[in-house]
């Protein structure tokens, strides 16, 4: 008729935001112990996965965001590269997607290194998950606003680095905004330990959290679980973690507690009464001593 509609999206058309953990400390050094999958192998799995997503539907869209230690950036966007097929693959050994992604990744790593401040970091080096989550959500918002016909977005975090506690608030905010805009966050943890953040992220947003037992079979995990479009998820049973522990732990002894004291200002949790909040420094009013409080409580039933 008048024109071929500019967008023909249907329910199973997906927009996959893939957050790639590019923490160099994760992939290098004594990496053989952290992940049994070396980076090239890992990337092979991921790239094949991306290709398979694009294969499933001509309208599927894939965006890759690199999560570095100091920065994060978009390194591949299948929608923007559609027009430029002319600069054909460099040596025919790999698809265009792959070569383009790799060159962008290289640039990104150089930039990320330039931004790093100290020479040899001590302790845990975590990647900037909050930043890449925000980038992904921004992109999704743009897609949402582009019109009534848009692909169904979802986020997939391929995370290996440990959680960065200082990002807690930012990540939680990202999670809640994802929840609000009904974007599921899938997480595939490739590192040595589970990620509490991603567990919560997937739980809250209704995504899938999975930590592959066999790193060699990463592609199989990706294609079996994470390639499932949102429409099909209504009909399928996907692996769910056995449980997410939402119990809080006290800040003073890091014990998991069922009942405790909460700072009314910063919501820090303590297992026993303190005079002052050790986190924000708020001075607590003199709590009613044990005797007085129980007395007060008890009076009522007696009357």
């Amino acid at each position: 008729m008048a024109s071929i509609p500019s967008k023909l999206y249907s329910d199973d058309v997906s927009l996959l935001m893939l957050l790639l953990d590019t923490n160099p400390f994760l992939w290098t050094g004594a990496n053989t112990t952290t992940t049994s999958l070396p980076f090239p192998g890992f990337l092979t799995h991921v790239l094949s996965f991306l290709n398979s997503i694009l294969l499933l539907n001509q309208l599927n869209q894939v965006v890759v965001i690199a999560t570095g230690v100091n920065s994060c950036d978009y390194i591949y966007d299948s929608s923007s590269s559609l027009q430029k097929t002319a600069d054909s693959s460099e040596n025919g050994r790999m698809p265009i997607l792959c070569s383009r992604l790799l060159s962008k990744l290289e640039e990104f790593v150089i930039e990320d290194e330039r931004l790093s401040k100290d020479d040899s970091p001590e302790g845990i080096v975590s990647s900037l998950l909050s930043g890449s989550l925000s980038l992904a959500l921004c992109y999704i918002q743009r897609v949402f606003r582009s019109g009534p016909l848009h692909p169904q977005p979802r986020i997939l975090c391929l995370q290996g680095s440990p959680d960065g506690p200082e990002q807690y608030v930012a990540i939680m905010n990202a999670i809640f905004s994802a929840q609000r805009s009904m974007v599921p966050i899938d997480s595939c943890v490739i590192g040595a330990q589970h990620s509490a953040f991603l567990q919560q992220a997937s739980y809250i947003t209704g995504g899938v959290y999975l930590k592959p037992q066999l790193p060699d079979g990463l592609f199989q995990y990706l294609s079996t679980v994470f390639a499932t479009d949102l429409l099909s998820r209504n009909f399928l049973r996907l692996p769910k973690p056995v449980g997410v522990d939402f119990r809080a732990s006290c800040f003073c002894h890091k014990k998991t507690i069922d009942m405790g004291y909460i700072c009314s200002v910063c919501l820090s949790i303590f297992c026993k009464h303190h005079k002052k909040c050790s986190t924000c420094g708020s001075v607590f009013g003199q709590a009613l001593g044990d005797t007085s409080s129980t007395d007060r409580k008890r009076k009522t039933p007696e009357t």
């Binding site: 992939w27 290289e106 769910k240 800040f251 924000c280």
Partner: protein, 606 residues
């Protein structure tokens, strides 16, 4: 009580006034029988409790110890007892019986949960009818609450008072809602005391009632002031009102000239005739309180006074103004406005209307309170100024108004969040216990360098083919499938779905009910510690007994469900059992401590 029947000497009366037939009242679980002492008497009764709707009783300390059992059909049986304790025994029994009956009858039917006011109601609690009403209403509205009430109060585990003590808030909230309406002034203009002329003589009669006086005081502060000043030091009350009426009369007859003349003679009278200074001041205050942003000009065109025949008629005569004596004239509109203001203020006639003096003083007190608010008016004035400036300002030119706030300062975020993570790791670090989290012996440069190498290596080598070995693939797929089928029954199909929903409805409800009742019991249990009185000691042991009855019930539920759900149910029951166990452990420990510390006081007194 426990015997299931009560026998008491009482008098049966058909009405309160009736002298009554002496006899013996015998109550059992299903009926009560009254046998008159005189076998020939006709007052023999044999009535089933089923026909009894509720019971009423006279307050302790009133003249007679009465118990009235009302019937559904209306009417009732009144018994008079010799002593209050006798009556109380019967009353408590009746309460119990009715409570039991009502719990059999579906609660929605009549919604009269009324007489669950039960035995425990109470040794020391005399409730006002409103209070009772409120509780009954609450119970009726919340079936959950009603269930709990039935379970614990009716069976005597908790007393009525104990039950409600933890729910004070419910009662309060409810109470504030039902505050009674306060009666204000009538909107009719009573303040104009009409003179009554008998037509034959020249005598003019004014009739003043306390209510009218009160209203006069309210509407005419000057009169009120004068009354406080003059009566009774300067003149008697009668003289005062005579003078007032005289002034009123002069107003009424529009005799401005005469009014002026008389005012010159009598300064007290002048007080009534002149414009009310206090009123004027109040008016000024009100004008100041007018919203400065109000556009008065917009109403200017609505001035009907300038149009012909639009003046206000008072008693059928058009008011005309005579400038000269204006001081002594009051216009109808002034009166109207004043009256309206008073009505709107809604000063209630709370005090007993009787003594004029007390009325005047009470009014003065309330005025005083108003004065206090006038001081706050000064602040309000400031606020008005601000508001005016805000309304007239040009928004672009103003600095942004930011609310003062104290920024949240978190000294070390690591401390804040590490704990969470440590916890999560502890819980989840299942298979990977042995692996080190991450090796950070590398410097940044080294790490980035080798990472870049990896990338370029990959660019050169391309993708490895095949991506996955078929064996590995198969293993993964089988592993996932197995994982799925193993978790299929343990968890809901989605994370959000509660396990409870998969259970049969009856089981679910039963579990929830047990959960609430356990919570209720535990609340009372823990609030009784430390035990300081024998009362508490009793209460704790009562609750403990009740709690011990829950164990077998839970076990029963567990066994009654189908084997598919048994695992889930036991998971759900687990926390309940834990909570109960904790309570029992505490009870035992406390008992032990008590016995070692004070072996000579076995009763629990501290």
């Amino acid at each position: 009580m426990a015997a299931g029947q009560v026998v008491m000497r009482a008098k049966y009366k058909t009405s309160v006034k009736d002298p009554g037939i002496p006899g013996v009242l015998k109550m059992t679980w299903d009926k009560f029988i009254f046998t008159p002492n005189d076998p020939r008497s006709s007052g023999k009764l044999d009535v089933g409790f089923k026909s009894i709707k509720g019971h009423m009783f006279s307050k302790e300390g009133s003249k007679k110890a009465l118990l009235n059992l009302t019937q559904y059909q209306g009417g009732g049986y009144i018994f008079e007892f010799d002593k209050f304790p006798d009556r109380d025994v019967c009353r408590d029994f009746v309460g119990k019986v009715l409570g039991k009956l009502q719990s059999v009858v579906p609660s929605g039917q009549d919604a009269k949960v009324v007489s669950e006011r039960s035995p425990a109601t109470v040794q020391d609690e005399q409730l006002s009818p409103e209070e009772m009403e409120r509780r009954i209403k609450l119970l009726r509205d919340a079936s959950e609450l009603q269930k709990l009430h039935k379970e614990f109060v009716i069976t005597g585990i908790l007393t009525e008072a104990e039950f409600w003590a933890t729910r004070k808030k419910l009662l309060d909230v409810d109470g504030s809602k039902t505050s009674k309406q306060r009666v204000g002034f009538k909107s009719a203009m009573l303040a104009d005391v009409r003179p009554l002329t008998d037509g034959r003589t020249n005598k003019v009669t004014f009739s003043l009632t306390p209510e009218i006086i009160h209203q006069i005081f309210a509407e005419k502060p000057a009169v009120h002031q004068a009354y406080l000043n003059f009566v009774p030091s300067k003149m008697s009350e009668k003289d005062f009102w005579t003078k007032y009426c005289r002034a009123e009369y002069l107003h009424r007859t529009k005799n401005a000239v005469a009014a002026a003349a008389e005012a010159a003679e009598d300064e007290e009278l002048a007080v009534f005739l002149k414009d009310d200074d206090i009123l004027a001041q109040e008016a000024r205050q009100k004008i100041r309180r007018v919203d400065p942003t109000l556009d008065m000009e917009a109403d200017e065109g609505d001035d009907y006074m300038h149009l012909l025949d639009h003046g206000i008629l008072r008693d059928g005569i058009k008011e005309t103004t005579d400038l000269q004596y204006e001081l002594y004239k009051r216009t109808l509109s002034q009166d109207l406005n004043r009256h309206a203001a008073v009505v709107l203020e809604g000063r209630a006639l709370e005090m007993e209307l009787g003594d004029t003096r007390t009325v005047a003083e009470a009014l003065a007190r309330s005025k005083q309170a108003e004065l206090a608010t006038k001081i706050s008016d000064e602040n309000a004035y400031q606020e008005r100024l601000e508001r005016a400036s805000r309304m007239t300002e040009i928004e672009d030119l103003q600095a942004p108004r930011t609310l003062p706030f104290a920024p949240l300062c978190i000294k070390d975020p690591r401390e804040y969040f590490d704990s969470q993570q440590a916890n999560a790791l502890k819980a989840l670090g299942d298979a990977v216990a042995g692996t080190r989290p991450m090796n950070c012996t590398l410097s940044t440069e080294e790490a980035y360098g080798s990472f870049r190498e990896l990338i370029s290596e990959m660019r050169a080598a391309g993708l490895s083919d095949p991506v996955v070995k078929p064996e590995v693939s198969l293993k993964v797929l089988n592993g996932l499938t197995q994982h799925l089928s193993s978790t299929k029954y343990n968890l809901g199909k989605s994370a959000q779905e509660s396990v409870l929903d998969t259970l049969p409805k009856s089981t679910k409800e039963e579990l929830l009910h047990h959960w609430t009742s356990i919570q209720e019991l535990l609340k009372h249990f823990w609030s009784s510690y430390p035990i300081t009185t024998s009362y508490l000691y009793d209460k704790v042991s009562r609750i403990k007994d009740a709690m011990s009855h829950i164990y077998p019930k839970l076990q029963e539920i567990k066994e009654s469900v189908q084997s598919d759900f048994r695992h889930q149910v036991s998971l759900l029951v687990q926390p309940m059992l834990q909570a109960l166990d904790a309570a029992f452990a505490h009870y035992d420990a406390d008992l032990q401590k008590r016995s070692t510390r004070s072996g000579d006081r076995p009763n629990g007194f501290v």
